[in-house]
């Protein structure tokens, strides 16, 4: 029977603990957040002394993990797909330095954009960096592949990318565990210049990486995670990657498929396996959760060979998550219809919680901006992004974390004065500080509204690196003391807050208005915990 009932995220966390990691480094991001949270809550991880504190952003997380690998221990780095953009410089170069202790990078993609700005496919980053990518199709594989990824990383002395998507991250199923491994002892690389990417050394390292490619591909045959499944009907052959394989199986009674199928869960894709399928069948269908990566490879730019179908020819929709019905249609099976939808169902979009301080901060900002024309608030990513929706309709941008301040500088230099940047506390320390330094150095004419709710609200209330530090950071970066204003976003302070913001809008230079009130969800959780601890000590 099944041992543990785990989310895909939790299976990865447990797999990493059992692989003998000494640290997990991460910045929260749906759908990857629960991996680190699981390790933080694990008694076992605590007993083993596994480091699990949140990092300020994905780049610092990635670099810290590279440092641990340098010192010979195993580390896991976790992020959502767009986090890999932030960590990309460190990530791509870590393929050149190689790993000493096992180094596994987890990136959680979000096809259909359930809670993201895009649906980029992290497998591209793996290919780009020329390192192995593992793509589990279920929770058990998530556990097994995490452990294997560490093995692979130490065998080839390179980082390994583990790629999952929202569906697996947030779906629960049974997982069997195996005996946990010991952590590594500290041991520096035998060549102490391995991580020094001076051109002369980097060239050597890069050649070493190139020389490993063949062996990496062969490992994809021997590891057993890629499977060639024979089928009698050769009119079609199917390549199914990761989760797509489940949706395919779902459509056949007892999982018995009529066509030959190549299940892909480890990259680089072994050429011999693809070749075998290509030679055996009349045409090929490619099912990928994400971008058409293998499809593009196999079809070639000019599409001169056998018929290859998938996302690129519309057999599968070009955008969005797969599901069993999409796959059924792609293989020509009938699908059932449910009942007709009711016209009495209305959209119910997420909104700011009742009592959230963001209501009051943006309410005051809206009022202060009334004398000016619209379109002046460059914003960022967090709960406060929901202020874009009615009734507030306060903000005019949300691009990537930290972009509010820098975009406001650009807009103000184009003549948009006053321009406002609205950013959260966690986003500010994630990647807003350097932008604020730019603003100070350029004497930009902007107002930065830092919505300090003392937490990372959007992703469920993780600790914020900014806690207790926002004013000092602003001062340290060089914002004038007189233009660092603290307000408390409450309804009763409305008029006072409007006045403070209005004054700063008139000031020609960099102003920071810090709207500080704790997130009501985090507050409630904190109080509950406090109460529980109190009754535990009095009982």
């Amino acid at each position: 029977m099944q041992d543990l009932l785990l989310l895909g995220d939790e299976a990865i966390a447990q797999g990493a603990i059992d692989a003998g990691i000494s640290g997990v480094y991460a910045y929260p991001g749906t759908p990857s957040t629960e991996i680190t949270e699981y390790i933080q809550a694990s008694k076992e991880a605590e007993d083993r002394g596994i480091k699990s504190m949140w990092s300020a952003n994905e780049k610092t997380a990635m670099e810290t993990a590279i440092g641990m690998s340098y010192a010979g221990k195993k580390s896991l780095v976790c992020m959502k797909h767009v986090g890999l953009n932030v960590a990309a410089d460190a990530f791509v170069n870590s393929a050149i330095t190689g790993a000493n202790g096992g180094l596994v990078v987890l990136s959680a993609d979000d096809p259909s954009m359930h809670s993201s700005q895009n649906e980029q496919d992290s497998r591209f980053y793996g290919k780009f960096s020329m390192i192995p990518v593992m793509e589990p199709s279920n929770q058990q594989e998530a556990y097994d592949m995490t452990r294997y990824a560490f093995e692979l990383s130490e065998k080839f002395e390179i980082p390994v990318l583990l790629r999952i998507t929202t569906r697996l991250a947030h779906s629960r199923s049974g997982v069997k565990r195996v005996q946990p491994q010991e952590q590594n002892e500290m041991k520096l690389p035998s060549n102490l210049r391995q991580f020094v990417l001076l051109p002369s050394i980097a060239r050597k390292q890069y050649n070493a990486l190139l020389n490993k490619q063949q062996a990496m591909e062969e490992d994809g045959i021997t590891s057993g995670f890629n499977k060639y499944i024979e089928g009698d009907n050769k009119s079609l052959g199917i390549v199914a990657c990761g989760l797509a394989y489940n949706y395919l199986i779902e459509n056949y009674k007892d999982g018995k498929l009529p066509y030959p199928v190549l299940k892909i869960s480890q990259y680089p894709v072994p050429k011999t396996m693809l070749q075998k399928l290509y030679d055996e069948v009349e045409e090929i269908l490619i099912l990928e959760e994400g971008y058409p990566i293998i499809e593009e490879l196999l079809r070639g730019y000019l599409n001169l060979g056998k018929k290859v179908s998938g996302r690129m020819d519309g057999t599968v929709p070009r955008a969005g998550e797969l599901n069993p019905n999409i796959v059924a249609k792609a293989v020509g099976l009938e699908v059932l219809d449910g009942f007709e939808g009711s016209s009495n169902v209305k959209p119910r979009p997420p909104r700011l919680c009742d009592g959230c301080g963001h209501w009051d901060a943006f309410g005051a900002l809206n009022e202060a901006l009334k004398p000016y024309s619209g379109g002046r608030v460059l914003s960022d990513i967090g709960c406060y992004t929901l202020s874009a929706l009615p009734p507030l309709q306060s903000i005019n941008s949300c691009v990537d974390m930290g972009a509010s301040i820098t975009m406001a500088i650009g807009a103000s230099e184009a003549g948009l004065i006053p321009a406002v940047a609205a950013i959260g506390d966690s986003t500010f320390t994630h990647s807003g500080i350097t932008g604020l330094l730019d603003a100070v150095n350029r004497k930009a004419n902007i107002v930065v509204l830092i919505n300090d709710n003392s937490t990372t609200g959007m992703t469920g209330g993780q600790d914020s690196s900014a806690l207790g530090k926002v004013e000092d950071i602003c001062r340290g970066v060089g914002v004038e003391e007189d233009h660092i204003k603290l307000i408390k976003p409450l309804r009763r302070n409305f008029e006072e807050n409007v006045e403070i913001i209005s004054k700063e809008l008139e000031y020609e230079g960099v102003s920071v208005v810090i709207a500080r009130r704790e997130c009501v969800q985090t507050l409630a959780r904190r109080m509950k915990l406090k109460h529980a601890n109190k009754s535990a000590t009095t009982n």
Binding site: M1, Q2, L5, L7, T30, P31, T33, E34, H114, S115, R167, L168, H170, S171, R172, S173, G174, L243, N246, Y247, I249, E250, N251, G255, N323, P324, N325, A328, V335, L336, D337, G338, F339, E340, G341, S342, N344, V345, K346, P347, R348, P349, P350, R351, L352, C353, C383, L386, M458, T459, G460
Partner: protein, 194 residues
């Protein structure tokens, strides 16, 4: 045995608790299980849904195929209708609370919603808030709905009771008893009214 269930509601209404109870009971019966949860954005007063699959055979997909949902269990009437396109036309059941959660400006008339539900071949609509309140607290409304679904779940009732005891273990005797009563009251209502 196979049951494919969609759990529906609004963020914070306790559908994940229902999922945990069904899951705990299913596991104690030795069944396979997959449950796709919703996290993230949708928690803030938005619609939430979870796909829950239990079976005596191994389960491939985390998502239930369209048209093959055996049950929609919903703690909010409008939300129950959101997924009827997934419901099996032949023998799918819709079980929902009749208590609207009105946090949008264009929430339809409750009567129109119920009329749409009552057109379906198999449904239970229950005033879960009232039933839960009668038993002690409106907080147990989600468990009342679970009770109303229990006759069609194909899971031994005692195992559901045990699951409640397990899931609410840390909350004390009173909470456990409240939820056991709520479960029973929901079940009785469904058996009387269908």
């Amino acid at each position: 045995m196979k049951k494919d269930i969609i759990l529906a509601g609004v963020g914070g209404q306790g559908i994940l608790t229902i999922a945990t109870i069904i899951g705990t009971a299913a596991l104690s019966e030795g069944l396979f299980l997959k449950q796709a949860e919703v996290h993230g954005m949708s928690q803030r007063g938005g619609d939430v849904q979870s796909h829950m699959r239990i079976s005596s055979n191994e389960i491939a997909s985390d998502l239930i195929p369209e048209g093959k949902v055996d049950m929609i269990i919903s703690v909010e009437p409008m939300e129950s209708l959101r997924y009827v396109n997934m419901l099996n036309r032949k023998d799918g059941w819709l079980i929902t609370s009749m208590n609207p959660f009105d946090n949008i400006s264009d929430y339809p008339e409750l009567e129109d919603i119920l009329n749409d539900i009552w057109k379906l071949p198999h449904y239970v609509t229950i005033d879960a808030n009232k039933v839960a309140k009668d038993k002690g607290s409106v907080k147990a409304a989600n468990i009342v709905v679970l009770g109303a679904a229990s006759p069609y779940l194909n899971i031994n009732y005692e195992l559901l009771e045990n699951a409640i005891k397990k899931v609410f273990k840390n909350k004390g005797e009173d909470i456990i008893n409240l939820n056991l009563l709520a479960l029973k009251a929901g079940r009785d209502y469904a058996e009387k009214h269908t």
